[in-house]
Symmetry: C2
DNA sequence: GACGATCTAGGATGATCGTCCTAGTTTCAA
DNA sequence: TTGAAACTAGGACGATCATCCTAGATCGTC
């Protein structure tokens, strides 16, 4: 029960972070969205808003990481294709109002300098590392795998911003096409 | 004088938008940062915070667009190189606390749906169009030019987020390398 | 069955938010 | 010179914010 209450608040925080950002996310929003009473906040999160946001970030990070770890294909290029398809679905959902919780926190300066900034960095790095490992497992050289993994995460973040503003996926499709071409060449150029 | 007061507020708003996002940017911040009195706000911006943010967005958009229009090189690939160098400088500055004002507004759901969202979309599109026209002027086919321009803007936005979180430029350099390769191949593949 | 620890519950608080208001000041055309 | 328009100036307003507080409820352990 207790774990359930806390978890509901974390997931609500993650969703509100995605939809309105850190500063605009109030505890009133969270209690209404999660259906938990106000007094529970500082019992489960003695550190207040920062601690809740931090846990929401960590949770979002591991959720996405779990999706990334499920990617599987016989070739490196197959991984790229799967990733692009996967995040296209994610962007479709996002257009309805959500963006990326990690990006939302990164936008905030105060959070960026403090605990939350470090947490956001760790989340991004973990995503990149998971992707890199996937490519390395397909016999892609380590540095090249890191290049590709980083490019894919940056493509996701950039697309989140631009497609959310425009309300359509054309921008992503064009950037994805360019990225696919570039990565394919990189992969073919290896010995 | 009047124009000066208004302009100072707009530029302060743009900077605060970059550093802390829309919701966290208060009028108290703006008056302190710009050195203008509180009563002036609703004289120059009857629409309140939304109108000020909108003007800050428009101003940021034209500032960046001006930089983009200054890009000049003899070859399409030269343009890409210049763009990458140019936004690398921008990212160096950004690491000290600022991100992109347009992205900051896009994160906010309420603003994204309303007037500000439309404004943000227009700004992104204008950047893409300027870049596209640059490539078309170098005899790159229109659709391919749009692909490349879109990719470059998405690269900028994604890098802004990730490098701000990590505090270093390695992510950008890796993504830029991949993008450069991909675009080069696209350009060489044309007839 | 009782007791300490954990959790739920909602209200109170001071600070800060965006917005608005009423004066005073400057500018400039007639 | 004068009067209207444009602008400066700072305070006041209700609403909302994050935080904290005190009780009641529930649980596991002796």
């Amino acid at each position: 029960m207790a774990r359930d209450t806390k978890q509901r608040m974390i997931e609500s925080a993650a969703e509100l972070l995605r939809s309105k950002g850190l500063a605009a996310m109030s505890f009133t929003d969270i209690t209404e969205h999660s259906g938990t009473p106000r007094g529970v906040i500082y019992h489960h999160f003695p550190g207040g808003k920062v601690e809740l946001a931090s846990e929401a970030l960590t949770w979002t990070g591991s959720e996405v990481r779990r999706h990334l770890e499920e990617l599987d294909a016989s070739t490196p290029m197959g991984l790229v294709e799967q990733y692009l398809i996967s995040i296209r679905h994610l962007l479709v959902e996002s257009m309805g109002g959500s963006s990326c919780a990690v990006a939302a926190v990164t936008i905030d300066e105060t959070s960026c300098k403090g605990l939350l900034g470090g947490r956001a960095e760790a989340v991004f790095r973990s995503w990149i590392e998971v992707l890199q490992a996937k490519f390395v497992a397909k016999n892609v050289e380590s540095e090249m795998a890191l290049d590709i993994a980083t490019s894919l995460v940056i493509l996701l973040q950039g697309s989140h911003i631009v497609t959310r503003a425009s309300g359509e996926l054309d921008s992503f499709d064009r950037a994805a096409r360019t990225a696919r071409t570039g990565i394919e060449i990189l992969l073919n150029s290896r010995q």
